[in-house]
Symmetry: C2
Subunit: 339 residues, 2 copies
């Protein structure tokens, strides 16, 4: 695709079209008026036959198979890591460029990992597959990048407040159902999370690794290093699921090599692409997931000089993890090529 | 009271008896079988006349006045900082020792600030008033103390996940009401918090100060220094309200002077009073507010060596802020004298 001939419109396939991110892909492609010639919606056999609407036209979901990618220019994958590993190579073989939202290829040295606001140049070094980073990492990186360009970053301590829809559409429905069950005095049904999420917080996102961090937390460490091409930046994350529907929030503490004043940080944030400052605490204005959900911008606030350590800034960043944290970022990667 | 004659039982007054902490005072005094001769329940004029039950006996709430403390040995205050400033001196003048749950006297150098697991000896240096620390600080300090005794602590980065009941009984009801309103398709009513708390998180607890931190966040900085008698320990907090009912959770990162291994930390935590380790992530076992609420113990889990910095540990601590974070801690302070 780096040598792609520019076309008026492209044949686009979405693998995992019926999932939370898949449906968001459709919204984003429509909103951004992505130049689509033919659209192919793909999902597992179970979901094949379902109908989805795009720009007022109804599309029947087809089964994701090895042979379904003929003629496809761009394949957006969000069908889980297993399906990406199995089917992405077939898409590449058929001539498509895959933009994969799973974690399957992210740390593969042959696969670029890209946030267009952070490292767009990496996208052009692909070998057929470009990986979309972890959602929590994307939201943080959009805010870290302008600071990093001003001064290298030594380390980041981050605590997340992650929405239920980060675990899929059904996980979000589980929170809504638990609210109904609680109000109606029924038993609370727990299925998608390890524990009840209504009126609770769960310090457990993705599975645990040997060092006591979860895979989600290690993604923030590893993917940040890969995208910034800097093995010296160290990220320690505590990822926590909270009972919100959409948008992830993060309390971020950043130690920089050079000092950055609050005023300078605000200036850097304000000038950064994809980022907006909401930081007027006297009027109770700061980013919150309830009000940020549905947008493509990440919002930063509570910007302050850290009172515990030198050369350290503390702030709060919120972004819609289904959109900028997943679908929007993937479509923005595709746009790097087609614009 | 430091020179108090030991008695078989004490006359106890509760100022603010009808609030969230006030009612918890009654539960704790009953559960712990505190030696009470006479019990006096006090509240504002508005709440006077209400009836509350203690050990099966009904008590009528009296109005909190300057003259109501005659004969009282111990006055437990949780009626807001303004009422503490106004009425605590009257209680002291009448011969009572005040244990005050508000922030009014906490940083007064003549007033000891005490967590019995942390600095019980300070309680005996009182001049009539002993201050109960901020709830979020208490929960954190119970976990920090055993580490601090092993190695001095340089700094702490903490992000909180604070329950609605930390803002009072009505604030907790607001979350419950918002759940009902949402399920019934009604307008969501916002009153006690600056924004809707259902399906949201709000990075704003208490009012903001000039350095961009909230008063709540600065309490964690100042009160920690005061209780550990150490001006070198620096705490940077981000305090966030989350849609839970009871118990505060905190993601804590601690840089120590001497290294502490995870094994040693676990051993220190396990041996510490008032603290229990729940740290079996492979079996999805870690502390969570939904399951910890209602107890007096603080629970620590997710203990790991920080991957971003040297000599740093990261963990997760949860405690019921109405009980250990307020009422239980105050009653434990009283018990230091009567036992």
């Amino acid at each position: 695709m780096s040598e792609f001939q520019k076309k008026a419109a492209y044949n686009v396939a979405i693998a995992g079209a019926t999932g939370a991110v898949g449906e968001t892909f459709l919204n984003i492609l429509e909103e951004r008026n992505f130049p689509i010639a033919e659209l192919k919606l793909l999902a597992s056999k179970r979901s094949a036959g379902k109908e989805l609407t795009f720009k007022g036209k109804t599309y029947k979901v087809e089964e994701l198979t090895h042979d379904c990618f003929e003629g496809v220019d761009i394949a957006l994958f969000s069908a889980g890591g297993g399906r990406s590993l199995e089917f992405a190579p077939s898409a590449v073989k058929a001539g498509a460029v895959v933009i994969d939202n799973s974690s399957a290829f992210r740390m593969d040295p042959k696969v670029p990992l890209v946030v267009p606001e952070v490292n767009p140049e990496d996208a052009f070094k692909h070998n057929g597959i470009i990986a979309n980073p972890n959602c929590t990492t994307i939201v943080m990186l959009v805010a870290l990048k302008p600071l990093y360009d001003y001064s290298k970053i030594k380390n980041v301590i981050v605590s997340s407040y992650q929405s239920t829809s980060g675990a899929g559409a059904q996980a979000m429905e589980e929170l809504e159902n638990q609210a109904r069950q609680w109000v109606n005095g029924e038993d609370i049904v727990v299925d998608k999370f390890a524990h009840q999420i209504l009126f609770n917080v769960i310090p457990h996102v993705d599975s645990f690794t040997e060092n006591g961090y979860t895979k989600e937390e290690m993604k923030m460490f590893n993917e940040t290093q890969k995208m910034l091409h800097d093995k010296d930046i160290k990220v320690s994350a505590t990822c926590v699921r909270v009972p919100t529907l959409s948008a992830h929030s993060e309390a971020v503490t950043v130690e920089t090599v050079e000092p950055i004043s609050v005023e300078k940080a605000r200036e850097l944030f304000a000038a950064a692409p994809g980022l907006e400052v909401i930081d007027d605490p006297a009027n109770a204005k700061y980013p919150m997931p309830l009000f940020v959900a549905g947008g493509d911008t990440c919002y930063v606030g509570r910007i302050r000089k850290d009172i515990a350590r030198e050369n350290t800034l503390t702030f709060w960043v919120v972004g819609d993890q289904l959109r900028k944290g997943a679908a929007t970022n993937a479509v923005q990667i595709a746009e790097l090529f087609v614009q």
